[in-house]
Amino acid sequence: MAEKMAMAKAINESLRRALDADPKVLVMGEDVGKLGGVFRVTDGLQKDFGESRVIDTPLAESGIVGTAIGLALRGYRPVVEIQFDGFVFPAYDQIVTQLAKMHARSLGKVKLPVVVRIPYGGGIGAVEHHSESPEALFAHVAGLKVVSPSNSSDAYWMMQQAIQSDDPVIYFEPKRRYWDKAEVDPEAIPAPLHKARVVREGTDLTLAAYGPMVKLCQEAADAAAEEGKSLEVLDLRSVSPLDFDSVQASVEKTRRLVVVHEAPVFFGSGAEIAARITERCFYHLEAPVLRVGGYHAPYPPARLEETYLPDLDRVLDAVDRSLAY
């Protein structure tokens, strides 16, 4: 039975289902137990599954990921929480040098089904290190899969799929969408984890985004429609692997592409998409692929984040520029 729920609740329900279905699934992280996590995503799980399945860890991110690797080597499927985006870096060494590479180094003998959950992105008025979008830093590393849902239903299903994956998955949760509600149908047949989805059909230009920016792109498409422009909106859903086929199909139709993400534009995922789509669709494109994202600057203090983050105007500005070619 489909039910409307907030994204945080959808992830909670998804974790609950995974814990229920497989005794090897574990949830680990700082404050995930009694407190239910600082965003309450793990609320009630320790109460129902016990302290040996839902584990409050010491305050040590390298330790959290490193021991998750060990648990995975022993046959467990840990889902670890990093409390905020900016705090993943103490664990970055373990993720990049160990988690990502052990499968290859063992000639495929070792599987590390570890999910690293990271609430990411800005727009919630937080202090520094609480609003960053470091997905490109992970997508750049072979051996890791990187995904980010944009709505409750995807959040629910992508979590199931991430846990079932035998590869490590970095699961970026758009924290400013945690409280947005949408239908979740636990009996549905979900789309594959790494498949992009057209969330709005259009003919004049494609807006491609993932995570927190999908909603913004939908709003931009609404606003553009009032001005007589028909924008297609693609939810990429997965950053690595990235579904270039779907982007290509859309661009062959609309001939224009604007990629939107919160992360800095420079060396960001938009750069990769622009380069590949230029290669694939050179003769279809009517304009260069444009990118909208953060500046090459540290994430600013809260009072400036509205200026820093992509907003409706910046997306529409890029749309205008593309259409002007």
Binding site: L35, V38, P58, P90, H130, K215, Y295, A297, L312, D313
Partner: protein, 412 residues
């Protein structure tokens, strides 16, 4: 093909979906169920609120305000005058008042977040007053009382919590480094700074603050290693306030934290963190060791975070009232007041005057916060680099053109 400038354009900015809040949602406190039968677990029961007679704990003033003798540490407060004692009291009261004002300002929407030091005044004032002007302090994000001792204007501490900057003061003007949010990082900076002090042949010392939770971080372990190996003049001042958000100290360690030092080869001492005199004495001792070339010390100030972790935390989900009540009985400010009164070191006039000074401080801080302007938009591009950077220049210029396109329309 040229890029057409889109000058004539109305702002289409919609407020929809812009800002949510991190406000914690309340719900029922989850109880915990035991581990499954098959798993081997060791369990210790959590001992809350150590007794004041605890032999591990250095204490010079009991919770009742009685001065107790301590042969080892008394010499470090031997010359203390009644005026000094009133000064310590004043520091604690004003720091608490400042902290309460900041909490209120957060509740009124003037600050995005606040990390209260309520309960930790003695640990911070005692240790802060032990430092010398040329010493260098590396705080975490709750050291408002230490900042006070270092002469940092309290209003400056509020900028980052208001969201107008990510720091807010020049660390070198008071030898008080910026707050550090990434847990434990600053302990390594402090150690490196101390290594530099030693190389320079100076006799200053360095002090690094961190919490009991932070003691689990690799950075903190590495800072202990470096400090020990290089005999760095650094004092590690751990305020064990019993909690790291929802996790008790027992979730970080199986041995008393001060004992960790032994494994690294330097002394560790646990001091009553609610006893300002003891904190002063023990920190002085540790700083003196550092100055004398005797290397690092770990001081564990055994104290309690009486409020929430931050204003977005809900402690009712993970701890009960009894614990807080037990600690309230050991209130650091009350304790010194009792001593001052019993020994006739302070009269009613002093307390009354301090009361009005507190109110004035509260008002001043409130006005300063309200008067804090939002930063200029272009501040985003400032100071990312010391030498400048072509890409930043390019993005700044693009941003200027973009802003100007709205100005043509009369702005928004």
């Amino acid at each position: 093909m040229t890029v057409e400038s889109s000058a004539a354009r109305k702002p289409r900015r919609s407020a929809a979906g812009k800002a949510g809040t991190t406000g914690s949602k309340t719900g029922t406190t989850a109880g915990t169920t035991g581990a499954t039968g098959t798993e081997r677990t060791t369990r210790t029961t959590r001992s809350t609120a150590k007794k004041s007679t605890d032999p591990e704990l250095v204490q010079l003033l009991t919770p009742e305000g009685k001065r107790v003798k301590n042969a080892e540490y008394d010499p470090f407060v031997a010359g203390i005058t009644p005026e000094d004692l009133r000064g310590l009291y004043r520091d604690m009261v004003l720091t608490r008042r400042f902290d309460a004002e900041a909490t209120a300002l957060q509740r009124q929407g003037e600050l995005g977040l606040w990390a209260s030091l309520l309960g930790q005044e003695a640990a911070q004032i005692g240790s802060g007053r032990a430092t010398r002007e040329d010493d260098y302090v590396f705080p975490t994000y709750r050291e408002h009382g230490v900042a006070w001792c270092r002469g940092v204007d309290p209003a400056n501490l509020l900028g980052m919590f208001r969201g107008v900057n990510n720091g807010g003061w020049d660390p070198n003007s008071n030898n008080f480094h910026l707050y550090t949010i990434v847990i434990g990082s600053q302990t390594l900076h402090a150690t490196g700074y101390a290594m530099g002090v030693a190389k320079d042949g100076a006799d200053s010392a360095v002090i690094a603050y961190f919490g009991d939770g932070a003691s689990s971080q690799g950075d903190v372990a590495e800072s202990f290693t470096f400090a020990a190996v290089y005999n760095a003049p650094v004092v590690f001042f751990c305020q064990n306030n019993q909690w790291a958000i929802s996790e008790p100290t027992e979730r970080q360690t199986r041995v008393p934290l001060y004992q960790r030092a032994q494994g690294y080869g330097f002394p560790g001492v646990r001091v009553d963190g609610n006893d300002v005199l003891a904190c002063l004495a023990v920190t002085k001792w540790a700083l003196e060791r550092a100055r004398n070339g005797e290397g690092p010390t770990l001081v564990e100030a055994f104290t309690y975070r009486m409020g929430a972790h931050t204003t977005s935390d809900d402690p009712t989900r993970y701890r009960g009232d009894e614990e807080r009540l037990a600690w309230e009985a050991k209130d650091p400010i009350l304790r010194l007041r009792r001593y001052l009164e019993a020994s006739n070191h302070a009269d009613e006039g002093f307390f009354a005057e301090l009361e009005s000074e507190s109110e004035a401080l509260g008002r001043r801080v409130r006005e300063a916060v309200r008067a804090m302007p939002d930063p200029d938009h272009f501040a985003i591009f400032e100071n990312a680099y010391a030498d400048g950077h072509a890409l930043v220049d390019e993005e700044r210029a693009q941003f200027a053109a973009y802003q100007a396109s709205f100005a043509d329309e009369g702005g928004h």
